[in-house]
């Protein structure tokens, strides 16, 4: 049957602006799904590809009895157990000194991908982790000094699955380049460093295709029974956890944003096709009167939605898959991931087709059913059902409003003229607000939390690593440098926290009771007293409550003690445990650990935090501090902020795209609805023009009607947007990052203002149509 397909083509051509708009939203929705879903799966595959290739440890265990390794090999699902040592020590490259890490070379687990040079073959040799090598331009033959111990000759550069993201720990995962680096060294290097700094670890690798959760539980249980102080699963490993934030982000986007786009496109298609059926009542009546079955009519009008959905899906997939691949490549290149896996998965085109076609067909269902239900005799008369007309809700609720000038009563009543269509505009505004506000809120949250981290919590100006134990003389020497206002020693130790339900590995920070170099964002505003203050995630991870007791283990010192949780801190980054220096010293003294004073004063275990005088030249003062004989390095504590800003570029790009998409979404639907509204009223509008009402005045009526709908839409929009933003940010929260929603007061106001702007923009084509009305023709058409 050629006639109906031809009719469909001509109908679409006559209203191509509106059909193209609907098509565009379907394309965008499917494209976003394909791109983000593929990016999420590709990134996950890329990371896992690297991890599998390099046999990344499924579990990393710190401490434990000498028989632990043997015990672990008997656990079902464990394939390999390899011992290794590592130590955090001051490293020096040229004139730069920083607190780095030396890690013993391993053979089977946590293998290294040597990208330049070769593995060490002699003694006092090592491979530079790639971020370290790139920052300092290390080549084979260069030397890196383990300060005060020995020089390590670099034999090459390597990528490690443990340091794809160069995080020192879960609590310190944003380190400025040159502030942290890793050397993979021969065993003799670990023999030479201060043994108090050395951690003994076991790296566990599982059999393929095991139940990871079950094996994790069994390994954890065995390790804790045998005295392990730290048990970190692969998923919780700092680098992996940081990288998975991106994966999580894409996973969320693969569902949330496409769903919104397809919902809006469905609404737009529904509006358009409902109008089409209405305007073709007499045609439908003629078709039915001449023998076309209901089924044929139903299939015909469903076919509009099917074509829109299918074409939109095909175009969306064609654009989305390459976009997803490009995003994957951009991410892996930016982050230095060695394996970039990009696969064509059947689920992507199938899912995209399903979403697109579903959006199209479902939106056409009601209009098609309406067409089928038309009684041919009624439809042939060509009489439109009378528009239900009554006074507006406003006039009924506020009778004085009936005294408004008639032109404004017409505007207000126009809103109720077609409740479904008006609801479409309200829904469009609410959805667009959600999209715009959630993305804007993400920017606000990240900016506010980073400001809080660097301006309130870690507000000190400099970090000093000494070349000798941190004692009163060292602190005094640093404090005596002109431009230094405050110098305080800070102890940083690896810690394992055991609560009622589980154990959590973190870092312990010991500040002086009256510290000026750190801010505690607690309920009371105070730091720890005689107990500990912990990050909020510690409560969730261990099951402890405020007022409860944690068993704090310090594997580096071989000490464990019970501490009362006095309060929690809401810090954007990390979930550390804080104890006052005085309390720590009391505990260590009462524990009787030999040489604890020297142990905690060791460079690296103790650092000196600085506050500088206002208005001083930061660089000059830090240089002066670094010139002190007792100082190994003095670095700007705010330098990490610059590094973070660098990585934010990609984030802002994505946010910008989301904002633009939100605007496009709203414009598309409002344009469609307004076009349909105007098409229904061309007779009235042309008669008004014929009787002397200018197109500008009519344009004001149209603008006012839609601005009122926008104002109605922003109310649920604000509620939905805020709820969605809160939920979205919470999905990014882990123990490493606390992304509670924080927005500036102006953000919601600006979002609302943006919606009014979007409405005005989307009305422009409709206003132009009013200006270009062929009055002479339209006044002679029967009103529809």
């Amino acid at each position: 049957m050629k006639g109906l397909p031809l009719k469909r083509r001509r109908d679409i051509a006559r209203q191509r602006g509106q059909f193209l708009t609907v098509l565009g939203t379907i394309v965008l929705g499917v494209m976003m799904f394909a791109a983000t879903y593929d990016a999420y799966r590709n990134l996950e595959a890329s990371y896992n590809g690297t991890y599998d290739r390099l046999a990344f440890a499924d579990m990393t265990i710190t401490g434990g009895s000498p028989s632990l390794a043997d015990a672990l090999t008997t656990v079902d699902g464990v394939a390999l157990v390899e011992a290794r040592r590592q130590a955090d020590v001051p490293l020096q490259v040229g004139d730069d000194v920083f607190l780095g890490r030396v890690v013993a070379l391993t053979g089977d687990v946590n293998q290294l991908d040597v990208v330049a040079g070769e593995r060490p073959a002699g003694t006092a040799e090592g491979l530079a982790e790639t971020h370290l090598a790139e920052h300092f331009e290390l080549k084979p033959g260069h030397a890196v000094a383990v300060l005060g111990t020995l020089d390590v000759t670099v034999t090459g550069e390597a990528i490690s699955p443990e340091y794809l993201w160069p995080a020192r720990s879960s609590q310190e995962f944003f380190e400025a380049p040159g502030e942290f680096g890793v050397l993979f060294v021969t065993e003799d290097v670990l023999d030479a460093v201060d043994q108090a700094q050395v951690l003994s670890q076991l790296l566990v690798r599982y059999e393929p295709d095991v139940d990871t959760a079950a094996v994790d539980a069994a390994v954890r249980s065995t390790a804790l029974e045998q005295g392990a102080s730290g048990v970190v699963a692969q998923a919780d490993q700092p680098s992996n956890e940081a990288l998975n934030l991106d994966v999580t982000g894409f996973e969320q986007m693969a569902v949330f944003f496409p769903a919104m786009f397809l919902l809006v496109s469905g609404l737009a298609a529904y509006t358009l096709l409902t109008r089409l059926v209405h305007s073709q009542r007499s045609v439908i009546g003629t078709l039915r009167a001449n023998g076309f079955s209901r089924r044929t009519v139903l299939r015909h009008y469903l076919s509009y939605g099917l074509w829109l959905g299918a074409l939109g899906a095909v175009l969306g997939i064609a654009l989305g898959i390459p976009a997803g691949w490009a995003m994957t490549a951009a991410y892996t290149a930016e982050l230095g991931i060695p394996d970039t896996i990009r696969e064509l998965r059947w689920i992507t085109p199938v899912g995209g087709l399903a979403f697109g076609i579903a959006a199209g067909v479902l939106s056409a269902w009601v209009p098609a059913r309406t067409a089928v239900r038309l009684a041919p005799a009624d439809a042939l008369r060509g009489d439109s059902p009378a528009t239900p007309a009554r006074r507006s809700l406003l006039e009924r609720v506020l009778p004085p409003s009936s005294r408004l000038p008639v032109q404004w009563r017409m505007v207000v009543r126009g809103i109720g003229r077609n409740p479904r269509r008006s609801s479409s505009v309200v829904v469009a505004i609410a959805l667009a607000m959600t999209l715009v506000y959630t993305t804007w809120a993400m920017v606000d949250t990240v900016t506010i939390l980073l400001d809080r981290h660097f301006d309130v919590v870690n507000h000190h100006d400099g970090d000093v690593v000494t070349s000798a134990p941190v004692d009163d003389a060292a602190v005094a020497a640093v404090a005596g440098v002109p431009g230094v206002r405050v110098a305080e020693p800070v102890v940083v130790l690896d810690a394992s926290l055991e609560g009622p339900e589980d154990t959590y590995s973190t870092a312990l920070f010991a500040y002086e009771s009256a510290t000026e170099v750190h801010g505690f964002v607690t309920e009371s505003g105070e730091g720890p007293g005689s107990g500990v203050v912990v990050g909020e995630a510690v409560l969730e991870e261990t099951g402890v409550e405020v007022g409860g007791t944690l068993r704090v283990s310090l594997p580096g010192l071989g000490v464990a003690f019970d501490a009362t949780v006095e309060d929690t801190v809401r810090e954007p980054m990390g979930s550390p445990v804080y104890v006052s220096r005085e309390t720590l010293e009391d505990v260590l003294a009462s524990d009787g650990a030999p040489g604890w004073q020297d142990a905690i004063a060791q460079p690296g275990t103790s650092v000196i935090a600085l506050l500088l005088e206002d208005g001083t030249d930061r660089g000059a003062v830090l240089d002066a501090v670094e010139d002190l004989p007792v100082v190994a390095s003095a670095t700007d504590a705010q330098a990490a902020w610059s590094m973070i800003e660098q990585y934010m570029g990609l984030f802002y790009l994505i946010v910008g795209l989301m904002l633009a998409f939100g605007g496009v979404l709203a414009v598309a639907l409002i344009y469609n609805v307004v076009s349909v509204n105007l098409a229904e009223r061309t007779g009235e509008l042309a008669t008004m023009r014929a009787n002397g009402i200018s197109h500008r005045r009519i344009g004001r009526y149209v603008l006012a009607e839609n601005m009122i709908l926008t104002a109605i839409g922003v109310v649920p929009g604000a509620l939905i947007a805020h709820t969605a933003a809160t939920w979205l940010m919470s999905t990014y929260s882990t123990d490493m990052l606390s992304f509670d929603l924080e927005t500036r007061p102006a953000t919601m106001a600006l979002t609302i203002a943006a919606m009014f702007l979007v409405t005005a923009v989307s009305l422009w084509p409709g206003m132009r149509a009013v200006r270009r009305l062929d009055i002479a023709t339209e006044v002679r058409e029967r009103s529809q």
Binding site: A389, P405, V406, Q407, E684, M688, A690, N691, A776
Partner: protein, 249 residues
């Protein structure tokens, strides 16, 4: 084109003429495909007359109404309506002319469905100053709808809706009414009522130009203009116009 006169300027038109056309021409398209909708049409309609323009489909009568109503511009000749030259009017001037000088009544009423009869009339009254509601009520009273002012179009019959559209045209207090097949969508009895209403407006000094293909309606006119293929073939005063009640079709 005749000499250019500033839009809206008073012209020494022959006294008593509501509409004066001289060699009026309207052509659509160019070359071989040009359509001469009006060719050298010359006529004058005195004020206060009820004039019917007759002609078959395609004769140019709708075009004539469009040109007189400034919905379209003539291609050549002169056209003055109530002293206003309609040559070279810009968009704003045409809108102002339609607001202040003429009222349209169409076959399809095109009332705003969400406004009552009173409000539909008041909508235009508000634009022309004065007490809009009072003037709207008076206009509806004139057309015999004084007791239906608060009804919505969906609650009115076809004839009542057409009377509302006539009231809408009258409320502007314009001297000239242009009617395009005003009874075309109505049954004969309702149509006769409408014609009576229109006829009555001339008693109050309005001029009516009614375009139709129904020659029976021409019997009630003071003057009949006949168009054929774009040309004026007859301009006939009617010495004894029939009453609307005497018409039948």
């Amino acid at each position: 084109m005749g000499k250019h006169v500033a839009a809206g300027a008073a012209v020494d038109a022959p006294s008593g003429h509501a509409i004066r056309a001289e060699n009026l021409t309207k052509t659509y398209g160019t070359g071989d495909t040009a359509v001469h909708a009006l060719e050298d049409v010359t006529f004058g309609i005195p004020r206060g007359e009820f004039v019917v323009m007759l002609g078959p489909s395609g004769s140019g009568k709708t075009t004539m109404l469009n040109v007189v109503g400034a919905l379209d511009a003539p291609t050549g000749g002169d056209l003055h309506v109530m002293g206003t030259s309609l040559s070279d009017l810009g968009e704003d001037a045409r809108t102002h002319y339609r607001l202040s000088s003429i009222g349209f009544v169409f076959q399809f009423f095109n009332l705003v469905p969400t406004l009552t009869a009173l409000e539909n009339v008041e909508l235009l009254a508000e634009l022309t100053g004065g007490n809009a509601e009072t003037r709207a009520r008076d206009a509806l009273h004139q057309v015999g709808l004084g007791d239906r002012v608060d009804h919505f179009p969906g609650q009115l019959s076809g004839g009542e809706q057409q009377r509302v559209s006539i009231a809408r045209a009258l409320v502007k207090d314009v001297p000239l009414l242009l009617c395009d097949e005003p009874t075309g969508a109505l049954d004969i009895d309702t149509g006769i009522n409408i014609l009576r209403v229109l006829r009555d407006t001339t008693e109050r000094g309005h001029t009516v130009l009614l375009v139709t293909h129904n020659s029976e309606i021409a019997r009630m006119a003071d003057r009949v203009l006949r168009l054929l293929d774009g040309r004026l073939v007859a301009d006939e005063p009617n010495v004894a116009p029939a009453a609307p009640e005497d018409l039948t079709w």
